[in-house]
């Protein structure tokens, strides 16, 4: 589904992505882990097109999307949620998702018909809200939802663009235990229905959900394997888990 090949990116002297290659298989939940500053955020930016890579290629579903601008990557079927909640605060929850549906429904040069009465936007939007358990919040102004609900809304919006792959940038960040559990449930529901690239700090979540894991250290991918194999990989233990237990 996704093939990243010898990707480089440097910011001045700092090598944020250093000859990074890995593959994500269709239908997998593929997690990317790594200590702070390992280059996860840069990688996400490169995948979505917000950061231009210095060299290397990104093959998505057989197409090279390296030079493709942000809004067209979404059209290729790559949807993302953000590390910092990123929704339309002053629109209703329903409107938020309806906009995402609209984004996928071709051009928006419709000047006359009332969009809030268009069934082909509103109905699917409600269904996506149902998947993430927010249908009861449809009429609320999105800015007034709780933090956990914001993240759920983001997932609904990402799903609404009908993606082949979902890029989730720390979906559990800042969540309480109960909210995290709800999010894990949502991801389990989605598992194997579409490919998910998950960037996450919470190791429990990663090892519960992921089919495969890539470990990033200083911009390099030191291993890509199943959770069990990663757990046993001595290099990973040394570079990553060692530091993690040091923090703990």
């Amino acid at each position: 589904m996704l093939k990243v090949d010898s990707l480089f990116k440097s910011f001045g002297a700092l090598l944020a992505t250093d000859n990074l290659s890995f593959q994500v298989k269709k239908g997998d939940i593929h997690a990317i882990i790594g200590p702070n500053g390992a280059g996860k955020t840069t990688l996400i930016g490169q995948l979505t097109g917000e950061i231009e890579s210095d060299s290397g290629s990104i093959l998505f579903d057989g197409n090279n999307i390296s030079g493709v601008p942000v809004h067209l990557r979404s059209a290729h079927g790559l949807a993302r949620s953000f590390q910092i909640t990123n929704i339309f605060h002053d629109l209703t929850t329903w409107d938020n998702v309806a906009l995402a549906v609209q984004a996928h429904a071709g051009h928006s040069f419709h000047f006359w018909k009332n969009a809030s009465k268009e069934r082909e936007l509103r109905q699917p939007a409600l269904e996506f809200l149902g998947i993430v358990g927010l249908e009861k919040r449809a009429g609320f102004i999105a800015g007034l939802l709780s933090h956990g609900e914001h993240r759920q809304l983001e997932i609904a919006m990402a799903l609404a663009t009908n993606p082949k792959m979902l890029l989730l940038d720390e979906p559990m960040a800042g969540m309480g235990p109960k909210e995290s559990l709800a999010m894990v449930d949502i991801l389990i529901k989605l598992k194997h229905k579409l490919t998910i690239l998950l960037i996450e700090h919470d190791m429990d979540v990663v090892f519960t959900l992921a089919d495969r894991i890539t470990v990033l250290v200083n911009g390099r991918g030191i291993a890509t394997d199943t959770p069990d194999a990663i757990r046993k990989n001595p290099e990973v233990i040394a570079a990553y888990l060692g530091e993690e237990s040091y923090h703990a």
């Binding site: 990123n86 339309f88 002053d90 409107d95 996928h104 419709h110 006359w112 969009a115 936007l121």
Partner: protein
């Protein structure tokens, strides 16, 4: 529709605007027809600005340019009609058509360059473009230069409407205002409008879900300019005079003030704002020669304390009303 103080206020305002010439004639004060006519025209300008400023979040500081373009279409046309005897150039339909074409073109060029920038740069570059066109008008001696053009006749609408009469012109303005309100109501609730509002709320997100934001914003920019260009045609007919100061940057500032004073991003806000602005001007300048001494600080206070403008206050009144209304409570039960 549920009746609330805000709705009632807006209905009274619009109905009131509809009968101004009748009342003015009845009381023998035709001056008020002219004054309210100006309010209507500036309302159209503010409604069009509100499309991009209030709903789209694009702070254009050069919107008066389109008033100028529309005005000069009338001024130039009428001048040739009167001085060179080319009668068809005084035709109002033609002038409106030309105003639409040239405003749209100007909007396209200005927007295409300005929308590449954001924030304060956008404000400044729209301002710069309006100053550019201002100086074009000032430097153009053939069409009056700094002194402008006096119109010896108003536009001719093939005898369908005779706007040489102030009352007919008033109703032409009124109908145009209603049309612009209806148009913007349809626009902001359409898919296009959703997109524009979404881009105001969170542009990065709009791109991430796959919208090419720029081209939609550009179209909104052009539409707003075009509507304002039509207001320019009406404005020239109203004042029977065209000069460059109509597009001076302070005039653009006043359009922004009207829009914000009334209530950004609400349908009727700009109308309320334009009426309130001209009322204040009239009222304060009646009291003292130094009226801006009071108007200036008032503006500062409105910005600091009344963020939703007058419409925002009405919404607050509505909320107070629904809390204290027994009928409403029963409905909730």
């Amino acid at each position: 529709m549920k009746w609330s103080p805000r709705i009632i206020f807006i209905v009274i305002l619009m109905l009131g605007l509809g009968v101004v010439p009748l009342l003015a004639d009845y009381f023998g004060e035709p001056f008020y027809t002219v004054m309210f006519s100006r309010m209507l025209i500036l309302s159209i300008g503010a409604v069009s600005l509100n499309l991009i400023l209030g709903f789209g979040g694009m702070v254009s500081f050069g919107h008066a340019v389109y008033l100028g373009i529309g005005s000069y279409m009338v001024g130039i046309g009428t001048m040739h009609a009167v001085e060179d005897g080319i009668e068809w150039m005084a035709n109002g339909f033609l002038q409106i058509a030309l105003a639409i074409v040239f405003s749209a073109l100007a909007g396209l060029v200005i927007g295409a360059i300005s929308l590449r920038t954001r924030g304060v740069y956008f404000i400044m570059i729209t301002l710069a473009f309006s100053q550019m066109l201002y100086y074009v008008a000032v430097g153009n001696e053939k069409y009056g230069g700094d002194d402008g053009l006096s119109l010896y006749m108003r536009s001719d609408f093939n005898g369908l409407i005779d706007i040489s009469n102030d009352n007919s012109l008033y109703y032409l303005n009124f109908v145009c205002l209603l049309l612009s309100l209806y148009l913007s109501h349809r626009l902001i609730n359409s898919r296009f409008g959703m997109l524009i509002r979404g881009a105001k709320s969170n542009e990065q997100r709009m791109r991430a879900i796959g919208f090419p934001v720029f081209r939609y914003q550009l179209v909104a920019f052009v539409i707003a300019g075009t509507i304002c260009g039509i207001a320019g045609v009406l404005s020239a007919n109203q004042t029977e005079f065209v000069n460059p100061s109509v597009m001076h940057w302070t005039h653009s500032g006043e359009l922004i003030i009207m829009t914000v004073l009334g209530g950004l991003g609400t349908l009727f806000g700009p109308v309320i704002g334009a009426v309130a602005f001209l009322f204040l001007e009239e009222f304060l300048s009646g009291i003292t020669e130094y009226w801006q001494l009071f108007f200036g600080p008032m503006l500062v206070l409105v910005v600091i304390f009344a963020r939703g403008g007058i419409d925002g206050m009405l919404v607050g009144l509505d909320q107070w009303w629904s809390r204290n209304s027994p009928v409403k409570n029963e409905e909730v039960d």
